[in-house]
């Protein structure tokens, strides 16, 4: 069987000649780890939040247009499906928020020891859960 690392990419060197270069193995050869899952989730939640920004724009534009368009948005957001969308958006937001702060700490050059990034990873998971549930409780309380 061929070594997966021999999966070759055709590129060009600085003289313009085509060359074959080794490619680092893709995700499926690695054993899953917390760090890997959180890294993927950070990107995935970012993309999800970008999609979720459509709801924010819809809400703002409808409110600016008047009471009738606003009532349509509120009707959707107030429905069970709307609550599910909003809660999903809340979880993605809190995760990206906590994981983003973890990235900022790394940017400051701290927390690269294995024990440290495993611990900070679990803190992100727990904080996301706690903040999401607290947000839901607050939302239900003031509804």
């Amino acid at each position: 069987m061929r070594d997966v690392r021999e999966a070759l990419m055709v590129a060009r060197n600085s003289d313009g000649k085509p060359v074959r270069r080794p490619v680092s193995p893709h995700l499926d050869v690695y054993q899953w780890s917390l760090s890997m899952a959180l890294s993927i989730l950070h990107r995935a939640s970012g993309i999800a939040l970008a999609a979720g920004s459509l709801v924010l724009v819809w809400w703002l534009v409808a409110a600016a247009r008047g009471a009738a368009p606003y009532a349509i948005v509120q009707g959707f957001l107030g429905s069970i499906f709307g609550w599910i969308v909003l809660f999903g958006w809340t979880v993605a937001l809190w995760f990206h928020f906590c994981s983003g702060i973890r990235h900022l700490v790394w940017d400051a050059g701290k927390g690269f020891e294995k024990a440290e990034y495993t611990q900070s990873g679990w803190i992100v998971v727990i904080a996301t859960g706690v903040l999401s549930v607290l947000t839901l409780i607050l939302a239900v309380a003031v509804r």
Binding site: L60, V61, A64, F97
Partner: protein, 134 residues
């Protein structure tokens, strides 16, 4: 000693030597802008979540009144600018990672930037219209 240096190749282009300048130090702008907007979004996100909870099920008039408060309008505009810029930078990296073909990549990047900017401008204009009582 001088003869020992004949095998040393200078890792610098002829153009770089002619100009006599170092790096422009602008190469990290994308990275830095993403961090600046990330830091700005930390307090803005907390404010925004609390504001949204307060506005749950609010009437249209209540939303307009809320947006007419200068503090809310300014923070909303700051959130929109930081959020959509952060989104633009993040989606750019995703596209650059996954879209290989050069023409396709350029087209995807331009389309993404157009959509993000139009969405951000729509949000800002809507907030301003309500906030300034248009």
């Amino acid at each position: 000693m001088a003869n020992d240096n004949t095998n040393v190749s200078i890792m610098r282009s002829g153009l770089g030597r002619a100009r006599g300048l170092g790096a422009a130090k602008a190469g990290y702008h994308h990275w830095w802008a993403q961090r600046v907007t990330a830091v700005a979004l930390v307090p803005l996100t907390i404010w925004f979540i609390f504001s949204l909870i307060g506005l749950l099920g609010a009437s249209h008039a209540a939303v307009v009144t809320w947006m007419a408060s200068p503090i809310n309008l300014v923070l909303m505009l700051a959130l929109i600018v930081a959020m959509f810029h952060h989104m633009e930078l993040g989606l750019q990296v995703v596209i650059e990672d996954y879209v290989r073909a050069e023409k396709c990549r350029l087209a995807t990047l331009l389309a993404m930037k157009a959509v993000v900017w139009l969405l951000g401008l729509s949000a800002a204009v809507a907030a301003l219209k309500m906030g300034l009582g248009g």
